[in-house]
Symmetry: C2
Subunit: 292 residues, 2 copies
Amino acid sequence: MKLLDGNSLKKEILDSLRLKISTYSAKPGLAVVLIGDNPASHAYIKMKRKACDLIGIRSFFYHFDLHVSQSKVLAFIEELNQNPEVHGILVQLPLPPGYDEQKIIQLIRPEKDVDGFHPINLGRVLAGMDALVPCTPAGVCALLKAYHIQTEGKHVVILGRSNIVGKPLAALLMQKSNPGNASVTVLHSKSHDLESLCQQADILIAAIGQPLFVKPSMVKPGATVIDVGINRVENSSGQVLVGDVDFDSVCQQCEAITPVPGGVGPLTIAMLMQNTVKAFESQMGFSSLSDA
Amino acid sequence: MKLLDGNSLKKEILDSLRLKISTYSAKPGLAVVLIGDNPASHAYIKMKRKACDLIGIRSFFYHFDLHVSQSKVLAFIEELNQNPEVHGILVQLPLPPGYDEQKIIQLIRPEKDVDGFHPINLGRVLAGMDALVPCTPAGVCALLKAYHIQTEGKHVVILGRSNIVGKPLAALLMQKSNPGNASVTVLHSKSHDLESLCQQADILIAAIGQPLFVKPSMVKPGATVIDVGINRVENSSGQVLVGDVDFDSVCQQCEAITPVPGGVGPLTIAMLMQNTVKAFESQMGFSSLSDA
């Protein structure tokens, strides 16, 4: 059984981005916007800004208190859209109740939408065009590619249909691309035939946010299992992080598997950095998002 | 075996649109742009304009000769974008060689993109938001709904991954909606396991443009079979239209099936009319595309 190590791949990707950025006289800039004081959001932002520091991206942190008006946030996003030093804009989700998440996301200029959440970026992904791809799906593809896991012709089963993981990942893996060219099945809470379809997967990807949901009976011997879940659960020794896959039992029968933590998670940040550099290069005219 | 009759459903939909339009003092307007003289394109446009006439949509036909410059076409699209009497813009595809199809499509204001080909409309479909949905996938959904064919929890297998049928249809059927909530599999020319996955489909949708590709061995007894293909083939009596499904042999073992012609085809035009009315209503402020 091969362990798919997201941390070492993240390091490789960040190293190569750092090298690339060092050759540019201008520096990419990432604006991170937070509303309120969710501790998990603070922790994520800290990790993202640390990655920026490490590779030479300037990060700008804008913190609004919980009661800022939506119109003020929108006006601020508009300023960031116009700011030539800001190449990527990230609004840390989830927003506190009372804000119109879609309205805020859709105001971000698609060229600066480094989270890849704007519908135009999702549409470009679905159409097989170049795009700022949502970071977690991009991370899964990066992992498959780095470990030379063939997807062409294979049956990929994705558990979960979220807008930030399941749906864009399905879109990516069915394209004429590498990774891609897979037979792709998307399953979710309403699926009648979940277990039997999972059993057929050459590559099983779990992204449903249900701790330890995937059991050995759902996995074909020799399959590759990618675990996107990050769930906080209580056990006798306090809070621990577990994935959507029952790793200890599933790992014995698969060809390759991601650990949690240390699998897909680190790559989400690496892909955010990659998107920011891509957005920078495109805005500086070094490259452009093409329609190929 | 139930025959899913697209012609009668088309008539119902057009009747109801006609009634609706008759209550409005202003009339929806659809601009149809053709470059060159492809006979099939002329035939399609004639059908579309006839449907417009029938229900009270004003159609404007703009015909450019084969050697018009792309910049002239783009400037003209921009005029149509600004024209308040034009609520929908349709550029008849395929374009002759030498034109940048994506550039032309992406210039159409998304609110007027009644073909639903703009990436932002595709992205809205993928994200489960209200959108101008590509007409053929919308027609398949209309047919499933009209005939009360349950999709929730069912396994839908889609043969084909085109940007105008397979991919948006997969996106529609995996949403939390009705039709929708299906387990969705997308297969294509690279799929290794095509036949065995087709055999598992509760609803099998063929959209690959391969005459008579789907044989009885690929269909589960009792399945619903939707044939999106329209292929011109030669036989002893001249040219005939056949679908992607070998209808005569497959129909004997399925619960319900679409004929070709007379199945999905007519609904594509009905959905174009529906999109044009929707675009009109949205632009007139009678309703708006929501992010629900």
